[in-house]
């Protein structure tokens, strides 16, 4: 005799996910597939289909430069965020417990504050008459204001700051999981603090590092507002390239090809990060 298999009381039927699955299929997946179709039109008016001209144009010297430059921007921002974020996360765990909630609050605030507002602040900070220039001039370190706004350096600093919470939160979580006894054990075995940091803390925090890097990287390369307000009109990254094709030139097919190239690149980067993440988890868990 066999009884009917029924759903355990602790589980819910999978069909509960179907409304969202259907909605995502219709309103998320379908549009992305549409990009593929549209990208093969050869003209902006979308009358002739079946040409790879847009793809050729996307991946020609210039398109590739924009793409690589965007990725390079992501790498720069991620590296800077990592250094700053790791220092903060490391110090966080060594802070008096009273201070910790305050720090978490300070980290979270920008995460939930409008990105336009945060970027706006950096215009004030980096401008020719901005805080940094005034400070340096008051100190007598420079005579004429430095150009910070609309420069690569300014953009990297701004983006690193804007995306910093995305780095810090996973790092704190990862570092908190590390048994504090391990560093004591390492110290008792004669390792210097720097050795302990290099050989114990960093390897064990790797999953958090990778999670933070993934979030920061993907946020940095897609940060349209910061790129446009701080980078200015002279720097061209994928998001602005895409926006320009759509809004000023109405070249939907080309924009579609750009979008897909960008999407594919991001998916590739994410998969890479995920792979590293899996490796590092195996590493960190022994």
């Amino acid at each position: 005799m066999s009884t009917k298999k029924s759903l355990p009381v602790t589980a819910y039927p999978l069909w509960l996910a179907s409304p969202l699955a259907l909605a995502m299929l219709l309103f998320f997946i379908t549009p992305l597939l549409m990009l593929g179709v549209v990208s093969f039109y050869s003209d902006a008016a979308m009358t002739q289909w079946g040409s790879v001209a847009n793809w050729a144009k996307t991946l020609d010297g210039f398109g590739l430069t924009v793409l690589l430059d965007t990725l390079w921007l992501g790498v720069q921002v991620t590296a800077l965020s990592l250094v700053l974020g790791f220092a903060l996360a490391w110090s966080f765990l060594r802070m008096p417990a009273r201070l910790q909630p305050l720090i978490i609050f300070i980290v979270m605030l920008p995460l939930l504050t409008s990105v336009v507002v945060r970027t706006f602040a950096w215009i004030v900070i980096l401008g020719r008459q901005g805080i940094v220039n005034n400070f340096l001039m008051d100190l007598g370190l420079i005579e004429a204001p430095l150009k910070l706004l609309y420069t690569r350096l300014g953009l990297v600093v701004t983006l690193a700051n804007v995306q910093l919470p995305l780095m810090v939160l996973p790092l704190i979580t990862a570092l908190q999981r590390i048994d504090m006894n391990l560093s004591d054990a390492s110290a008792s075995l004669g390792a210097s603090e720097w050795q302990t940091f290099k050989k114990i803390t960093v390897p064990l925090a790797l999953p958090g590092v990778i999670a933070g890097c993934l979030l920061t990287f993907s946020a940095a390369i897609t940060a349209f507002i910061s790129q446009s307000l701080i980078g200015g009109g002279q720097m061209l990254f994928m998001p602005m390239y895409l926006y320009q094709q759509v809004s000023a030139l109405s070249n939907f097919p080309f924009a579609a090809a750009i979008s897909l190239t960008f999407l594919a690149t991001v998916i590739l980067c994410v998969s890479l990060f995920n792979m590293l993440g899996r490796l590092s988890r195996g590493y960190a868990n022994g």
Binding site: R128, Q129, L149, Y150, G232, G233, A248, S250, F252
Partner: protein
């Protein structure tokens, strides 16, 4: 207790209904006027909108400031259900919009103000409501000797202090054509223009996305010299920002700005009312005065004040002093130029 709870629930339900469009039709009636960014938006918000409201018994209007090219892109994308009712165009985009059949002819026969426009402004596809004048803008606090020529932008002393806009704006494109001419080119030979732009790179502090953004760069002290729109800086100047406008010796670039009813607009009557207000001597007079200093097209408006002093005594004088460009030729190549600008002027 129960009643308070019920009240809360009822109000939440009502609130939820409000969230969904279609249940309230208020939005459908709003007239959308795509004006230009920066000073134009401020001028129109301050002068044109009140006049329009007065004429239409407080009809709702939204200003959507954007570049001409963006307006065309938006309307092209949704021809049957245009997101814009009234467009404002520089000569180049105006030709494009007309060619692509995006605009509707203005009902000139029934218009009260159309016949008062100067001859050049009378266009059935969309009357011109003002002229724009592009010259050199500079910060008198930082630049003691006023520039006299476009060529001054290339002076080594302005290293890292000059600004331009990209070619999406008429200002940027017009400037490119002008410097091409200056270095021996023309509308059909843009090469010298690009070469000159490349040489300008060391001096560039910023490439603005639109003329409004260029004006803000002065406000922030980010640039000290740039090609600029006469009007764009007037409001800044009125606020005490140190900026001055000069006409270079090569002549200022001028173009008329036309206003159009978008085809398939559901708000045609309101659109006509707005354009009628924009042509009216009343509005044009107010716009001509400080701080807006908009060059009028209505013959009943007599040029005076700052405009008469700096630009031209009257419309006839203007035609003599200003350089007009061949936008038909420019249009044919503009997309290519934008592409090329993207590639070459990128740092």
């Amino acid at each position: 207790m129960t009643s308070r709870r019920q009240l809360l629930q009822a109000s939440l339900t009502l609130g939820a209904l409000q969230l969904f469009p279609g249940m309230s039709h208020a939005q459908a009636k709003r007239l959308v006027f795509a004006t230009f960014t920066g000073s134009w938006e401020e001028a129109h918000r301050a002068v044109l909108v009140p006049a329009f409201k007065k004429a239409t018994n407080n009809a709702e209007i939204i200003l959507d400031p954007m570049l001409s090219v963006d307006q065309i892109a938006k309307v092209t994308a949704a021809r049957n259900n245009p997101p814009i009712d009234v467009m404002l165009h520089d000569p180049g985009p105006a030709l494009t919009a007309i060619d692509q059949g995006l605009v509707e002819n203005y009902p000139v026969a029934t218009s009260a103000n159309y016949k008062d426009l100067i001859a050049e402004a009378q266009e059935e596809t969309g009357p011109a409501i003002f002229f724009q004048v592009v010259g050199l803008t500079y910060n008198p606090d930082k630049i003691k000797t006023p520039p006299t020529s476009w060529k001054d932008l290339w002076k080594p002393e302005y290293k890292g202090r000059a600004g331009i806009t990209n070619l999406n704006s008429t200002l940027g494109t017009g400037f490119l054509v002008e410097i091409a001419k200056m270095f021996g080119g023309s509308e059909s030979n843009i090469e010298p223009g690009f070469k000159a732009l490349n040489d300008l790179k060391p001096n560039l502090a910023a490439v603005a996305a639109n003329p409004g953004a260029l004006a803000t760069l002065f406000q922030q002290g980010q640039v000290d010299i740039s090609p600029g729109n006469f009007n764009a800086i007037q409001i800044l100047k009125a606020r005490g920002v140190p900026v001055e406008f000069v006409i270079p010796k090569e002549g200022a670039i001028a173009f008329k700005t036309t206003i159009h009813i978008v085809k398939n607009s559901p708000n045609r009557e309101l659109a006509v009312a707005l354009i009628e207000a924009a042509m009216s001597p009343d509005v044009q007079t107010k716009l001509m005065q400080s701080p807006y200093l908009v060059v009028p097209t209505n013959s009943k408006v007599k040029m005076d004040g700052e405009i008469a002093k700096v630009l031209a005594k009257d419309q006839a004088d203007m035609k003599k002093r200003f350089v007009f460009q061949d936008w038909k030729k420019i249009n044919e190549q503009r997309a290519q130029w934008i592409e090329r600008f993207n590639r070459e002027i990128k740092l």
